[in-house]
Subunit: 232 residues, 2 copies
DNA sequence: CATGGAATTTAATTTATGTTAAACTCGCCC
DNA sequence: GGGCGAGTTTAACATAAATTAAATTCCATG
């Protein structure tokens, strides 16, 4: 039961030769890609992307076969080339949109937080956002997380940049909290950040709804992080 | 600069047809496989295994090519078949010995701990052991950790069993600590365990000696875990 | 120093899978 | 209702590995 999510990047379809065919029907692309709908073409493309994200999150970068993706998207493998220039391109897009969506989500959550909130509380908000997005919402995120380390540098550029940005948000959270005295001074903020993020990232490896409610996981993680970081 | 470690399983070489050739010279296998030495054959086998562990830890299960392994072990790919029945067999052994060695290490460390030590302190010992073994000692462990989720079930049996055993040691640590009141009662021991182990496992993804000393990482992790779990 | 088996190599085979090329289908517009 | 192009399929191709076979080197022992 594949999860999906991660609104596709703009139309910009057509990969073929020298863009001789148009691929995007004149209809003009819907500006907001409302959930699922859009042109038939857009929906198919999305299905391929979703399938790729799912396969990728399960079998990993090198293990993802186009035939698997095709099967899950319910079309034939060569059809994929109508939408993507190559296997690597497809993967690239999944990986990129994975963290991109994650970052967007985190930014939204943080922006919605009341002003003057305690810096440590902001970290806990991030814990909530990260965990929920990873476990509940998106195969894309799982794919990004699990395969980041195994990608050939070629595909990596865009994702790496995005990952860096994402990490910087977290870094900010930690350095501020540290500066404000909301985090124990014996803790290196960078190491603390990486350890916390690790605990969250790894959750994709073991958690499933059968392991208990996501709410409980989030609460437990928050509780450990709060107490783990806060001064006595 | 590949790390290795994980004393090979007994000789039991020869995979060929119906074990027509002996592969293990009459010399009789050294009982304890002292570090590196042993028959020339044994050493070569070990080199292949080490190379496989390294490649596996970097490129992942599906990404590991026999030619990569061969290159790193300084021989030709087909030579690998003199020692292993198949690529999968080779991988299986790396993955298995990865956690097996890890478990052995953890057991030793815990056994060496003074009696009556605080249950929470025992967890911190485990944190130290896990982290150091993962980051300092063994490509095998890294390979096991990073690829556990992507292995076809076929190869998985032995490793899975070992992983379970390893997890049980940790589970014991947590349930005891919890029962003893050394861990806050609002924490689900299982979830706490998984989150902590996640933070440690993930360290393989980001840590390198250039990221600061391993000692600091260990101390930081212990500090967060201690405060994260201990009652007020 | 010749011989036999251990260890390893080069050459050949097989198979899987990404990719391309060439049709084919089907709905829409004139 | 004929044609055209978007979308998709089937057939063909190319290549990269894994595996196997055959040939070769190495080395201990007689």
């Amino acid at each position: 039961m594949p999860r999906k999510t991660a609104t596709a990047t703009p139309p910009k379809v057509a990969a073929k030769k020298a863009a001789s065919r148009t691929a995007v029907p004149k209809k003009a692309a819907a500006k907001k890609a409302p959930a699922d709908s859009g042109t038939k073409s857009e929906r198919t493309r999305q299905r391929v992307l979703d399938a790729a994200a799912h396969v990728l999150s399960v079998k990993g970068y090198a293990g993802m076969r186009l035939s698997d993706v095709a099967e899950e998207a319910e079309l034939q493998a060569p059809a994929i080339y109508y939408y993507f220039k190559s296997r690597e391109d497809l993967i690239e897009e999944v990986m990129y949109s994975g963290i991109a969506a994650m970052r967007q989500h985190l930014v939204e959550v943080l922006d919605a937080a009341p002003d003057g909130i305690d810096p440590l509380e902001r970290i806990l908000l991030a814990v909530d956002a990260h965990l929920r997005h990873e476990l509940e919402i998106s195969d894309y995120t799982t794919a990004s997380i699990r395969n980041a380390g195994q990608l050939p540098d070629a595909i990596n550029k865009r994702q790496q940049a995005e990952t860096k940005k994402y990490g910087e948000i977290w870094r900010d959270l930690f350095t501020r909290a540290s500066a404000d005295g909301a985090i124990r001074t014996d803790l290196d903020p960078y190491l603390a950040q990486m350890l916390v993020m690790g605990a969250l990232n790894w959750a994709a490896e073991w958690w499933s709804p059968r392991r208990g409610s996501l709410d409980t996981v989030v609460e437990t993680a928050q509780s450990i992080v709060r107490n783990g970081l806060a001064p006595a």
